[in-house]
Each structure stands twice: as C-alpha cells, then as structure tokens.
Point group: C2
Chain length 557, copies 2
C-alpha cells in the first residue's frame, strides 16, 4: 500500500458558509462516497437565476472512484441537486423509503427515473464500499425517515449527523436512535460532522407535539373554513392537522402541486394515516358547510405563485377566502421571506379572515427541525469526537458550534471551520486541513446549467438598475463616414416626453464624436464605439445620474 | 358660510398600508396644513429606484391653500421627501430645533436652504393657521425633540401622535408631556391619528436606559477596541455610548458621513454632551492603545457602502478590525435587512472580532422607539377619541391597532382603516370616510423624479431576468428586402461558446421569417418587427426556457 492510499479525506462541495446545497464526501484510496446533493435558492443579487447547485468539477475528474450517493433525508437542500448530478454521473443512490419517494418524483420530472439505480435503506442497513463500512442511526427532523451516517474507516469512525433535533415526544412516535448513538460514541468517534443551523439559539428545540396542540385549539375555535399552510414535506405536522380535522369533523382539501404529490407519497408509503373519504377534491369545498372544511395548502413562505398567495388575492379559481375564515401559517418565515409573508397576511386580513401567523410574536404554530444549542451539545456529548467539523451553516453558525463543541470537551484546535472545497486529510490518526479542491456555485437558469456566469450577471445587474441605450450607426464602408443620423433606442432607462430632447441631444453628441474622431483619416470601428460609450455615458450621467448600458452598433454599407 | 366650507377633511398621502413616506394633511375651508413629508426605500422589485416619495398631485392642484408643513421629528420617513416637496411648493416648515438641524442638512445638499422659510417651534408653541389653532406635546421616540400635534378645529380636537413610545426613564431625562396629554384628552378628543408600527407586539416597549446598561457592560469587558454601530439619529443612545466610553477611559472616533454630520448638529444644538477632547480624528485611532479607543459608526443595517460593511471586509482605509476587538450592533435589523446584517457578522467573525448582535437571540443592545400594544393603549386611554384613524403602518398593524382601540373603548365602526388618498370628511360632529384624492408613489431615480414609471420598471425586470437580444436588419428602402445578414448582439442572456451556434440559428430564423413575409409584396417594418419578436422569442424559449427582451431594429438604406 502506498502512502497516498493511506490518506482518508473529507470535504464539502456545498453546505459550508451557507445554508443550502449540502454535499459532503469521504474519500479513501480509490473510493469516494458522497453524502447528499442539494440545491439552494438564489438571493436577489443573482438576477434571473432559478437554482444554485454544487460545482462538481472534482467529482467529474474522479468519476471512476465514486461508489455511492447516500442521502440523509428528503429536503431540497439535500436532494435538489440530484437530477443535475445524475445527468453527469451515473451513481447508485441510497436513501430511506420516504426520501426515495421524493427523489423519484424529481427524477421522473427530469426523465431520469428509468436509468437510475435507487437502493432503499433504513437505519439498520449495513453497507460496504471498499474499505469503508457504513451504518446508520435514526434522527428526528422536520421530515420523516431521516438518517445519521456512520463511516467505519481504517482511521476510525467518522459520523455525519444529517439534520437533526432531539424530540423526546416526536409526533409520529418514531424516536431517535439515542441508545445506538450512545453505543457509537461510547469509545469516542474519530471525527464528527454535525449540522449547525441553530447553533446561535440557546436552549432545546421544542417538540413537534407543541404545534399539534396549537393546531387542535385553532381548529376547535374556528367557526368557518380553516386554511392551513405548511411545508409539504413536514408529514408529521400534516398528520397532526389531519388528526385535528378528524376531531372537529372536517374534510380536507389539498391545494398546491407539491402538497398533493408529497401527501400522496406519504400515504402510499405508510407515513401518513388519513381516514377513508376524508380527503376531498377542490370542487367539493363549496358543497360542504364551511365549518366542515379544512384546506391544507402550499405557500407558507409567501411564494408569489403558490396556493396561499393566490388565495389571498382572490386568484384561486373556485376557492374563496371569506370573512371569519381562519388562516394558519404553520411555518416560520425563513430569513429573507418575511416581507413576502407579511404581504400575504395583509391581504388575508383585508378579506376579513382571522390570521394566525408568526411575525411580531410567536404563534406556537411552528417549531424548528434543527437542534438548538442544547441539542447540539447532547449530540457532541454522545459522540465524544476527537475531531469536529461543524457543517450546514453560515460562518457565525459554524463559529458558535465550535464554541459549543469546546464547551463539552472537544480540544481547542481540533475543530475545523472550513470552506467548500477545503480538504481535511487524515493519516495515522491525525487530521489536518491541507489542500483545496475546486468548489463553488453552478447556476441553473431555465434549461441552462452553468452557462450563466459572472459576466452575464454583471450585465443583468447594470440593465436592471439603469436600463440600456442601443445606438445604431450606419457608416459607409468606403469613406468611413456616417451615412445618416444615428438611431437610438432605450429600454428601462427613461420613458416620457422629457426624454425626447435628451435622446436628440445624445444623437447630436454621437455625430459630433464620430466627426471629431474622423478629422480626415479613416479610423477603426472599435475606437468609435469606445468613444461613443465614453462621451454618451458621461453626458447621460451628468444629466440623469444614471449609468445605462450603452451599446453602439455599427452597420457598414 | 357655504356648506362646503364647513367640511373638515383629513387624509394621508403616505404612511397608510406601508412603513415609510409619512405625509398627512388636514384641510378646512381654504387652508391645508401638512404633517410630515417622508421618503421610503424601495424593495428589490423596484429595480434601480433610489427613493420613493409621496405623489403630491393633490397639493399641487391646491397649492394656494397650503399654509404650513409641520414636522413631528427628524427621521427619514418623516423628512426625507421635504427637498422634493419644496422644489414644487414653497411652504413654511415648522419643526423643533433638532429636527430643523437635520432638515437644514438636507436642504443644503439640495441647494434649497436659502429660499426656505424654517420656523423653530417647541412643545409650548401655539400657532394659528386660519381657523385652525395648533399646539403640541412632547413624546419619547428614538430621536430627540419629537412632537405630537393637537389641531383645535371648529369640529373639535384632532390629535396626531407623531411616532412615540412611553419611556418613563428616558435616557436624556426628557419626559413625555404625559400630564399635558391627559389634559388634552380629559374631555375626549374628537379624532385621534396614532402610529401603529408595533401594534402586533404585546407588552410595553422597554426603556432606552436598558441599552445603556448593556453598552456599559460590554465596554467594561472589552479588552481591545470597541466598534459600535447604531442609527446616527439616535442621539440618546449615542449619549449613553459616550458615557460608557468616558467611564472606561476611551476616546471616540466617528466613522461614516451621517454619523459625523448628525453628531455635529446634536453637539452644536445641545442635545449631546461630549467632554472636550474626547472625539478624535480617524488617523489618531492607531496612535492610541486599542483599549483606549471606541469607534462609533454607521452601517448597523448592513448597508453595503456604509462604514461597518467596509470595516468588515478590510476596506476602510486606515482602520482595521483586529482579533479580540469588540463589535456591537446597537440596532436591530429592520425587516428586509437581516441578510445584509448577518453577512457582515460573518465577515467580522472571520476577522477574529467578538461580535454582539441581535439575530437568533436578543442582545439587549436595541430597544424599539415605537410603542408596543400597552403604550398604544395608554395613548388611546389618555386621548379618549370619539373617532380613530390608525396611521403609520402596514395593513395588519392598522388592523391590530383598531382592535386595541376597541379594547379600550373606541366604539366599533368609529375606526377608519384607510388607504393613502382616502378622505375622512367631518361635518356637524360626524366623521365619514367618503371620497378619494390622487395618491401614490413617486419614484426618484438619480436626478429624475417621477420619470421612471411602470413601463420602464417592467423593461428593467425583463432585462434583469433574461437579458436582451438586439437584432439589426439592414433593409433596402426600394425593394424592401434584407441587404445583408442580420446582426445580433446579446447582453445578460447567454455568454459562452455554446451560444454561438444558438445565435447563428437565430440569424437563420430571422432571414427565413423576413423572406417568408415578403413573398413578392413589400410589407411594413412594424409587421416584420412583430414577426421576428414572435418567432425568435418562441425559438429561444424552447431552446433555453428564457425570455430575453428582443429588440429588432431596421435600418433602411
């Protein structure tokens, strides 16, 4: 065995210094095992971008080594990149039954289902990939069927927690494998990768059952229709809504494509129990008395095209929100979505609805699926890691998670706060952060994957702020002179009667610029274009304090 | 006196169903008195817009009636529209000494200072505008020298609270005129306009002194430089920072233009007491031991160009944040700014600074200047209004404020939840919401005021998402035929080698479209343009799922 083969490497291609696009990998000898392949939604600076997925250059360069993609759970930031990944790399995918259901839905959309090897696992599975043996443990989170992963390697145990909280009274009675975790960590694990989302929040995450109680109370009090919006994937919460509806003799209608799809999968695979005949079609809503109806819908984050947004503006065909209906946001706004949510609250209140929402003061209708500080300390205590890599979070979350780890005994200097692409190499029981591999964001825009780069985004930004001015010059090829007046067209820049004079002035300026340049000798088109950009740009800035994109086009005749 | 003259009207041109651009007015006979003239910052959907100010069409149509602009306090959402207003309407401006300082700063920038009549008032002022007598009362808020306004009219007392909280231990010992308020409301006021910002929050706003204690603690603990960021206008908070610096033997340096300007005004006008020699220049920071220095800077909202953002990325010339420095965010993030703030926190932590900030758990470094539910109920109780108009807030805030009013005795049906432009007319002691006047948003973009409208914004939106394609066709005037290949240029759409083929395909399609149209007879340029937009648009959408703006330009030769 060469020295090189003795190195065990760990790295992330997504999920560090960000919330989203999780993708971690463990490499040993000629074997790469990948954990998760998520996507991330762009912030408003990435104009026109639909999705962000991990840059997988390194994996493409080492594709023969990849033996498995293990998926910890079915949230978008853990499975959303899979179709794009599979289009480039045909790797078997291992996941639990419910997670596979969500992955299959995605693969079907991308017409990849037939060609992908999907392997169902559960918390008792035991897999071998060359020198790496993999086992699992159940964790609680805000979606069913979540796993933590144990890699038994020649260098010792490496544990990846997945996303988790400790819920001692889980809504579905599926408890975390806390005894198994204790067993795994009894002699200490070599390295722990643990999620950091709530590392800034003191205390212990409240139990999902708390939401159930509040939902039931609200259903009891409601005198007319109840409309409840939550994440479609939070099946345990949906089960509690179903239970509340049953107790109050309501039928349930599902609105929104993902709500219908995911509930279908959950029922079919046994994760959600709904009495026969309880789910009604949309058109049946108006046939029942309002106090006999509950609507479960998408759009709790204020997504402008989702069911709840359309209901709030009276744009959902066949379903109306009426005075005294009760609307419940059973999900907290994810940072960045607050304004979209409160806009919908405003609209719902103007319709006369009673609205239970979580901004301003907490409504009791949401608990986090991610462990708070005490949950994270419990995991660290159970696992007793020698080395620690906080994952799944922005820098301050990773930073606080390090402090938590040190508070429960991880030695100072043994925590690695890394970037995507940073590699921790382990040899002879010592872990060191050493080299870097390529990592970054790949943008998905429409059908295109990776074809929109910084240059295109820079252009979109300039266009978005100040618009553009297209200037067409017709020049005679022979004499190199303007044949006619320049033709100037603006979009997104100015639009009113005042600007006619401005455009005339621009045209005069262009003619002058070209004529000045040409004093006798013929000059290059590029020089003309540059001069026009400069002189027109300066002129427009002094006149308007705006900097539109200026696009001179020369037509030779 | 005609019937018409007997009507007292109240309306808002800004501030209803929004937080920002406050502007209210009271009209009686031939007299309009305006209260406040603020601006609002655009959300990300208003691409390229710098500011939003009230549409003052109605005031321009009635300019001879306007007798006064009374300003309650110096926040941007109450004074930021004044320069634009004064450019159109020369009206005397009434405000307190500190508020006037901030207004003067603004007018100087806009070169309006010389031509404006500014009249200093205080809480004991008594003004008469035709039939309307105006008196004032002091309120606490997050800026010094704030007023509530009482209009003694032929129809009774109309009270406008301004922005307020009840702080029984204000940091500057300037107490609210609570006895005066009780006196005003003893027999009940006819109509109350009261601000609604925190109508969703239960309890009583904490006192500003709480922040002082936390700041002092942090200064005591800090072993190196302290950098504290807050709103420049929150002079009472700044006084507490100055006091903490004095107790811990630190000099203070001010970074950021508005911090320097506003602190100057506050010292000069007696609202801030700073020991001689305590304020040092920026270049002196590095001459002192770090534990002798405090920096007071702008940028607490994460503004990308403000001092704190630049410090956090090492881009503030001459001042560095070093390991173990303490950085304090003494301001909560305004909704929408959370991500900009946390980005800066992340950067500061990577520099090794200790950061005290308010996301995740409260830091004690900020209290609101706006009254919570109990403050609002106290005001309603003191004023005992017959009619009530909740102002200064989005719909759900106004809605909750109405519920609060009803809970302390305002009769159901006597609260008006209005839009900007809705008018309440009062005759014979009865108030009715009746007519509408023009109201809306006027956009400021660069120098332009109101020249960017919906059409320009729609173009900017399309350009921002999918870019554009300019297609230049050279057509012979005589034959109406293409003279050469089309010239196609894209920006913000695609940019890589793959797209060369796409553009070639587009050019082939254009040529075909034009030739098909021309089968023999000469056709109109407009028809050609429309056909190209359609065929190219469809082609690009099927190929890319994007919809760039398509701009065909025909050059006749």
């Amino acid at each position: 065995m060469s020295t090189k083969e003795n190195v065990l490497s760990i790295f992330a291609l997504g999920g560090l210094n960000e919330v989203g696009k999780n993708m971690y990998a463990i490499e040993y000898s000629n074997n790469i095992v990948i954990i998760d392949c998520g996507n991330k939604f762009p912030d408003e600076s990435l104009l026109g971008i639909d999705l962000i997925i991990p840059d997988i250059t390194y994996l493409l360069e080492n594709k023969d080594k990849i033996t498995a993609l293990i998926v910890t759970h079915g949230h978008e930031d853990h499975i959303g990149g899979i179709p794009f990944f599979l289009k480039k790399l045909n790797v078997p995918v291992y996941a639990t039954r419910f997670t596979l259901g969500l992955i299959e839905l995605k693969l079907e959309e991308h017409k990849l289902l037939r060609d992908t090897e999907l392997i169902e696992i559960d918390s008792s599975s035991n897999l071998n990939f060359d020198d790496i043996n993999v086992t699992f443990f159940k964790v609680n989170h805000s979606i069913p069927d979540c796993l933590g992963v144990v890699f038994n390697t020649p260098e010792g145990k490496i544990v990846h927690t997945g996303d988790f909280k400790f819920d001692l009274t889980p809504a579905n009675n599926e408890h975390s494998d806390i005894h198994k975790m204790a067993e795994i960590g009894r002699d200490g694990v070599f390295l722990l990768l643990s999620e950091s989302t709530n590392a800034e929040r003191p205390g212990l995450t409240p139990s999902e059952q708390m939401v159930g109680k509040h939902v039931e109370d609200a259903f009891m009090k409601a005198e007319r229709k109840v409309i409840l919006s939550t994440f479609a994937s939070n099946i345990n919460r949906i089960q509690q809504v179903v239970d509340a509806a049953q107790k109050t003799n309501r039928k349930i209608s599902l609105l929104g494509r993902s709500m219908v799809n995911v509930v279908d999968i959950a029922i079919e695979r046994g994760y959600l129990t709904v009495p026969d005949g309880m789910i009604i079609e949309q058109h049946e809503i108006n046939e029942l008395a309002p106090e006999k109806v509950a609507i479960l819908c998408t759009g709790s984050q204020g997504e402008p095209l989702a069911a709840l947004a359309r209901l709030s503006t009276g744009n959902f065909r066949g379903v109306d929100i009426l005075p005294e209906d009760t609307v419940i946001f059973a999900a907290g706004p994810i940072p960045g979505n607050e304004r979209n949510v409160t806009r919908i609250v405003d609209n719902l209140l103007t319709l006369g609805a009673k609205v239970i929402y979580g901004t301003g003061s907490t409504s009791g209708m949401h608990v986090s699926g991610h462990g708070y500080q005490e949950d994270l300390k419990l995991m660290l205590t159970l696992m007793k890691p020698k080395y620690f890599i906080p994952i799944h979070g922005e820098y301050r979350m990773l930073h606080h998670h390090r402090l938590l780890a040190e508070s429960v005994g991880v030695e100072q200097g043994n925590t690695f706060i890394m970037n995507n692409g940073d590699v921790v190499d382990i040899t002879n029981s010592i872990a060191r952060q050493t080299r870097k591999i390529p990592a970054g964001n790949t943008y998905v825009d429409g059908i295109g994957v990776g074809d929109v780069g910084d240059m295109v985004l820079r252009d979109r930004k300039q266009l978005s702020e100040d618009g553009m001015l297209v200037i067409v010059l017709t020049m005679s090829k022979r004499e190199g002179k303007l044949v006619s007046e320049p033709d100037t067209i603006s979009r997104g820049f100015v639009f009113n009667r005042d600007s006619e004079e401005l455009i005339r002035e621009v045209n005069r300026l262009i003619t002058k610029t070209v004529n000045d340049l040409q004093k006798g000798n013929k000059i290059q088109w590029n020089v003309i274009k540059q001069s026009i950009k400069k002189s027109v740009g300066q002129y427009l800035f002094t006149q308007t304090k705006r900097k539109p994109m200026i696009l001179p086009i020369i037509i030779e005749i």
